[in-house]
């Protein structure tokens, strides 16, 4: 476990559907037996040569040159065969170098180590699932928004008000919600009380939602075509900026009870967001919060960020937010048709 923030890679994510009471637990560490989480030279009886032999072909897929103690050779052949552990087939077809050359390389590698070029984006896996989510949502003309803020900025209250108001306005689009919190079903229960379909993701000790969690929640939620999908992320202005969920846009909610310099303190989040909702403006008379300066800070890190001032409590400014939602949904449909 991480001793800095309490994050734990061992803790699983739990997705709860309050409507059906169904709980889906995902163990973050669930892997097939014999997968990578075992020490090298383990009990499998595999020789070092077998490992090296398998690797020699593993990295032979790309054209490259590498050096082994005094000689240099290039692999520019493309063939795909993965040797099972222990099966050391030295006279395999398709290889351009002799078994002797391979064992020389193996000895050189064993003494010096072999460098394997990876050029792998660390977040690629999340990005791939996010794009999959995005495609699935687009196929149903669903407009997905990733709502991010620090804890207590009013995300859930904003959602409650939005859902009730749009119901009163007889909006033709449904709203469905994915709630993200480390623990409790409290927010899902609040959303459910409005009559809205909701699924709760509890990240355990994780500090953000990732695309895989949202993918599983989408399976459970199964939102109808043309809906708005509101994904309420874990209250955190840092980590959620890095993890694409497949949403159309991030909406950052900043309440006026926080510092007006939040955009400067957490520039990544404000840069990644399309809209900033400045919430709790009904409290402005009681606070020393400079709205203009706050907006200027937000535009300093993101010149194209849109800003709306609202109060989810009194309803002030909310009409502009609903108009924004409608506009984003129309763009979504137009882009899909195109």
């Amino acid at each position: 476990m991480c001793t800095t923030c309490g994050c734990s890679k061992g803790a699983g994510t739990v997705i709860t559907d309050p409507q059906t009471g169904e709980r889906i637990e995902t163990q973050a560490e669930a892997r097939e037996p014999g997968s990578w989480r075992q020490l090298a030279g383990g009990a499998s009886g595999t020789s070092v040569a077998a490992h090296l032999h398998a690797r020699a072909h593993r990295h032979a897929h790309a054209t490259h040159v590498h050096e082994h103690e005094g000689h240099e050779h290039s692999h520019d052949h493309v063939h795909e065969h993965i040797h099972t552990q222990g099966a050391v087939a030295l006279n395999h077809p398709g290889a351009e170098h002799s078994p002797i050359a391979t064992s020389e390389a193996a000895i050189a590698a064993a003494t010096h180590g072999t460098t394997i070029a990876l050029e792998q984006d660390v977040l690629a896996k999340n990005q791939l699932i996010a794009e999959h989510n995005r495609g699935w949502l687009a196929s149903r003309h669903i407009t997905a928004l990733n709502l991010v803020s620090s804890p207590g900025a009013g995300k859930t209250t904003l959602l409650e008000r939005t859902i009730r108001d749009l119901q009163d306005l007889h909006s033709t689009r449904a709203i469905q919600v994915i709630e993200g919190d480390q623990a409790t079903l409290n927010d899902a229960e609040r959303i459910r009380a409005t009559g809205c379909r909701v699924v709760q993701i509890n990240t355990g000790t994780g500090c953000h939602l990732d695309a895989g969690m949202v993918s599983r929640a989408l399976e459970q939620l199964d939102p109808p075509p043309h809906a708005w999908l509101m994904i309420e992320n874990v209250g955190n202005l840092v980590c959620p900026a890095l993890f694409d969920l497949g949403e159309q846009a991030k909406v950052v909610i900043l309440s006026v009870t926080e510092g007006e310099d939040k955009p400067l303190k957490y520039p990544h989040m404000f840069r990644a967001s399309r809209l900033m909702l400045l919430n709790k403006i009904d409290l402005l008379p009681h606070l020393r919060f400079d709205v203009e300066r706050c907006i200027a800070y937000a535009r300093q890190v993101n010149p194209s960020i849109e800003v709306l001032q609202v109060s989810a409590e009194t309803g002030a400014g909310m009409k502009a937010w609903y108009a924004w939602l409608e506009a984003v949904a129309l763009v979504e449909v137009a882009e899909t048709v195109r």
């Binding site: 923030c5 994050c7 090298a40 660390v122 840092v238």
Partner: protein, 109 residues
């Protein structure tokens, strides 16, 4: 603390590609504007690598400088953080480099 899940991904990806061999060294490229702290990655890396073929591997982190192009005057801007602005005063910048988060290479025994 997204560094923990990132460090875990790094360990996972390296271990997968190592195919059972012991990993001696991992080289990461982390951009200055990537919102990922090299020190936090270092801290988490050893924790994540425990009981894997990556355990004990040396972690090398190459910090990549940030660079942007000014969309108003076309000048290039060295970015030490996201709050930089162009010499012309504009903050309308297109990031060209600095958000890398990549496993460059690894060395296996």
């Amino acid at each position: 603390m997204h560094e923990l899940s990132i460090a875990n991904s790094v360990v996972e990806l390296c271990a997968e590609r190592a195919m059972g061999a012991r990993v001696l060294r991992v080289t990461l490229e982390i951009g200055r504007l990537s919102a990922v702290m090299p020190d936090a990655i270092r801290f988490c890396f050893d924790v994540c690598a425990k009981d894997t073929v990556v355990e004990g591997a040396e972690l090398e982190i190459v910090e990549m400088p940030g660079l942007a192009r000014c969309l108003d005057c076309g000048g290039s801007v060295d970015m030490t953080d996201l709050l930089e602005h162009c010499a012309c005063g504009s903050v309308n910048l297109e990031l060209l480099a600095g958000s890398e988060l990549k496993i460059k290479q690894m060395e296996v025994a």
